[in-house]
Amino acid sequence: MVATAQETAASPAVRARARRQRDEELLVWPDLVFVEFIAAVVFTLSLTALSILINAPLLDRANAGVTPNPSKAPWYFLNLQELLLHMHPALAGVIVPTVALIALGAIPYFDRSHDGQGEWLATPRAKLNLIIGAVVGAVGTLLLIIWDGSKHVVLWARLTGNDVSDWPTKLNWLRSARALQIHINWPEELLSIPLGEKVLRTDLLGLPRVDLNVNLPALIVEQALPTALMVGLPLLMAFILHRQGIARTKRDHMIAQFSGFIAVFVVLTVIGTAFRGQGMELLWPQDVGMPVS
């Protein structure tokens, strides 16, 4: 009798909803446990097959006296090693990955809406933002690598039938990022600006004092320009997507930025793995040889 009283107390809509939810549920045993079991078996078999077919690499015994050329980090850090070729090591090796990880962790605190939750790319414009973000990230990274590797000069030489050395002297500063430092006549006083020990007070942290002597062109090429590009280009993309009405919500912006990040990550990793040969020179994969990892 008590149960009946409770049932009548709930509105028909509430009871109908509860019933509907139950109807759409499956039991974990057998429906999920079975899927997991099959996945585990398939994975174990394919990994065993792979391990029978391909041996893990083992080179000569470690020798601190013989440096292989090129020396590469494990493949998942080759994106950072690729960045290292284009900017100051502190930026590439530490600051960029730290900022990237913090930004990654901050995604849910930025986009707090419930839109598109629990379904693949469920919000309107999600796929479009994914494609634009990924294409801009991939193409942008490729273009920047080609520029810094002076491969646009090679391309120009191929297209015009000239030699690489025929590149106009006046445009030498456009050869690569480093050319901005070398091929521009910077005033002598900018090459060494003494800032002394008062600017960076490392002594307050109990560390040795740093005598700052700034080389402005080097600072621009190694730090200011890469930072401006890495911060500015995503912001520019966000601005254009916003103005064009393609990214209207925070979720849209998140999808574009995240897809761009993944594309940059993949392009840098692939270039670092397959396109960097002796002396970390930019080469075609057949000239680099089989990557070992």
């Binding site: 039991l27 974990v28 083992l58 015994r61 494990p74 998942y76 986009d111 419930h114």
Partner: protein
């Protein structure tokens, strides 16, 4: 004394089945019987320590392979596989500069299935990095980081870092040219940080160059320090999935 009704004419199969599964010892281990009724199926999931990571019921869309591609589960599965092959490898490996490389050579030539063990450990390690990255992408594109799951996404980012560190610390252990120079390049990156880089690099490799101290540090981190940390974060990760109501659903 309670009697159970025993219908006449039971087949031999039924009697063997009863003998095997309806005896005192078996029922002391598995309390709920073979899960052939909905009640027993829910009981087995709720009472079994391994299965109780799951809820007893789940929405039908979450069973579809294309919803998750099992990526998180496979990452965990790879972690378990890496633990098993890793423990087996530890039987044969001594983390000293004199012995490490010889031990790997011996593992490949003298130990039965040694090379298979090492190969599986290596490919599973690469596989885990890939699976964790793909799992992160799946969670992002299905919007599964949204409230109330914000912090679990952060735990996931920590697990991604731990996965990379686990792989990186294991990379040095064979003590061949590949290992030595990859770690030299990698740790030089740490050293390039402003001000704190060099002290951190020194602490990580226990000296100015990769040597015996680096090997023992990486080994200790690889076989106990980082796996323990990862296990703790995984426990939190899985627990919070359950607390937050399972996989994300459209509202």
């Amino acid at each position: 004394m309670a009697t159970t009704e025993r219908p006449e004419g039971r087949s031999l199969g039924d009697r063997v089945y009863d003998m095997l599964f309806h005896n005192y010892v078996w029922q002391s281990i598995f309390r709920s019987g073979y899960p052939n009724t909905p009640r027993n199926q829910m009981l087995v999931v709720a009472t079994n320590v391994f299965l109780h990571l799951h809820p007893t019921r789940i929405h039908r869309t979450h069973v579809k392979i294309t919803h998750t591609y099992c990526l998180g589960g496979l990452s965990f599965f790879l972690f378990l596989g890496l633990t098993i092959t890793g423990v087996l490898l530890m039987f044969y490996y001594v983390p000293s500069v004199e012995r490490a490389y010889e031990d790997i050579l011996a593992l490949e030539t003298d130990v039965r299935f040694g090379i298979l063990m090492r190969n599986m450990h290596r490919w599973m390690a690469h596989g885990m990095v890939i699976m964790v990255l793909l799992h992160m992408m799946r969670v992002f594109y299905t919007g599964a980081y949204k409230p109330p799951r914000e912090f679990n996404w952060v735990v996931g980012v920590v697990l991604l870092v731990l996965t990379l560190l686990l792989s990186f610390t294991g990379y040095l252990l064979p003590w061949d040219q590949l290992a030595f120079w990859a770690i030299t390049v990698g740790t030089n990156m740490v050293g390039s940080a402003p001000i704190l880089g060099e002290p951190n690099r020194f602490a990580l490799i226990g000296g100015f160059v990769v040597g015996p101290n680096a090997l023992i540090r990486f080994y200790t981190l690889h076989v106990i320090g980082l796996p323990l940390l990862a296990a703790i974060f995984m426990a939190v990760h899985f627990w919070r999935i359950r607390r937050d109501g399972g996989l994300a659903r459209p509202l």
